[in-house]
């Protein structure tokens, strides 16, 4: 009986961890340039709904910097890992990117942001 209780508690903990909502505030600084919805209107940067899994420079409505277009032409896509590297220092990964945001050095901050971006996949 006790063993079942422990197992149930463990599963409940996993479930609650999975269901834990993202820290949506992590996306606040991005809102000045990016939309997280297809109805976001014209923004200074590309829309980011469904960004993880799509090609680099993958918003057809946005003209990208040559360095990102070259990455797309080489077949590079936005995996979670690549986006994490990009956010940690955009110029280090793609020197010449038009995006002007500073490096996000804090891994937790990046994880929070990636959580929000992953959540946007559902709206894709």
């Amino acid at each position: 009986m006790r063993r079942w209780s422990v197992a149930a508690a463990f599963l409940a903990a996993i479930g609650s961890a999975r269901a834990e909502p993202c820290n949506v505030a992590a996306f606040e600084p991005c809102k000045a340039c990016h939309a997280l919805g297809l109805d976001g209107g014209q923004k200074p940067g590309p829309q980011l709904v469904g960004v993880i899994g799509r090609p680099v420079a993958g918003d057809p409505a946005f003209d990208y910097s040559p360095v990102l277009r070259a990455a797309r032409d080489k077949g590079e896509g936005w995996t979670r890992e690549r986006l994490d590297r990009f956010l940690s220092d955009p110029e280090a990964l793609y020197a010449g990117t038009w995006m002007g945001s500073p490096p996000i050095r804090d891994a937790q901050q990046r994880a929070d942001l990636l959580c929000v971006l992953m959540g946007s996949q559902d709206k894709h």
Partner: protein, 334 residues
């Protein structure tokens, strides 16, 4: 109508000892184009050069957004010094104050920073209240010595160095406040990149008065005043340079050359000639309002991405964020 909130009223500087790296020398390359000399100084690697400001003694300050520094360049001998702004620093804008110091919108610490022009001591005034990350963007001084600033998270603010009084307000339409400029007539204006507007700030109350540019969704990124107090605006989304004359409320606009221009920076020189940067063309572009013609100065390296311009008589300065070079365009004759 949305109520405007006073978000912060704070005082108190945190002083940090200046961390200055060993002086270095920047390699310089020169070339001539269209009757101008272009100088390109190699900046320190990994710095993420962003905005520039011209000191009265001929030296330049440049923000290093990637490594949290303010970089001093002496163009006469290529001398370089880096001043650390503190842990987590990520400076965006820089302007020279009436006291001769460099004043920085230091986004990483959510603060206004001052770097003394003589001993390079760093002082920090953190924003309190308002967003924990205002995404501080650009500063400008008015004639009373008050520093006005923007934050892309949706704030505008002012800081009085004399009393250390800081005030921060919510901006209309939320996220977006970007470039800011004071005019010779002592009015203060800013633009909102995401909000797509120009606004004059009432210097007494901090209340902005929006002036709608003629192109919808234009993405007004930076603004500079000419000698007459006319506001020149670089429009990122539309690729236009536009001009608003507050005297009669009129607007004019011109499309930059090329198929899909992306106007980022704007600066107006002592002859009221307008200088812009175009990311699509990878160029600094000169616009003559008298003849309404453009003259392009493409970078000799790919992905230059000059994000801001400033100058002194006969010289236009910017930093290529993508190549880590500091560039000057000097008039050769006349």
């Amino acid at each position: 109508m949305r109520r405007r909130h006073l978000l912060a009223l704070s005082a108190g500087a945190l002083a940090a000892p200046a961390v200055i790296t060993q002086p270095a020398r920047a390699a310089v390359e020169t070339r001539d184009l269209h009757g101008y000399r272009i100088r390109a100084f190699a900046g320190p690697s990994g710095t993420g050069l962003h905005d520039v400001a011209c000191n009265a003694d001929g030296t330049m300050w440049i923000t290093g957004q990637r490594n949290g520094t303010l970089i001093l360049l002496d163009p006469r001998d290529g001398g370089l010094k880096s001043v650390g702004l503190g842990s987590g620093a990520s400076p965006h804008g820089v302007v020279i104050g009436p006291d001769g110091a460099a004043w920085v919108t230091e986004g990483g610490q959510n603060a206004i920073a001052r770097v003394d022009d003589k001993d390079h001591r760093v002082q920090i005034w953190k924003l309190s209240g308002g967003p924990s990350y205002a995404n501080l963007n650009t500063p400008a001084f008015d004639k009373q010595g008050v520093l006005w600033f923007t934050g892309q998270s949706g704030v505008i603010g002012r800081f009085e160095p004399r009393t250390e009084k800081m005030q921060v307000w919510e901006a209309p339409r939320g996220a977006g406040p970007y470039g800011i400029a004071a005019t010779p007539q002592n009015t203060v204006w800013y633009v909102s990149l995401a909000g797509n507007y120009l606004a004059e700030i009432d210097r007494a109350t901090g209340t902005p008065r929006i002036v709608e540019p003629p192109t919808p969704q234009q993405g007004a990124r930076r603004v500079w005043s000419d000698s007459q107090g006319r506001l020149w605006i670089s429009e990122w989304n539309s690729g236009n340079v536009s001009m608003h004359d507050p005297k009669d409320g009129s607007w004019k606009k011109w499309k930059l050359p090329g198929e899909r221009p992306r106007a980022y920076a704007v600066y107006v020189d002592e002859h009221d000639t307008v200088w812009l940067t175009d990311f699509s063309a990878n160029a600094i572009v000169r616009f003559d309002p008298k003849t309404e013609t453009f003259l392009s100065f493409p970078s000799d390296k790919s992905g230059g991405n000059v994000r801001q311009l400033a100058g002194r008589p006969g010289e236009v300065w910017g930093a290529e964020s993508g190549t880590t070079r500091i560039v000057a365009i000097d008039k050769l004759h006349g």
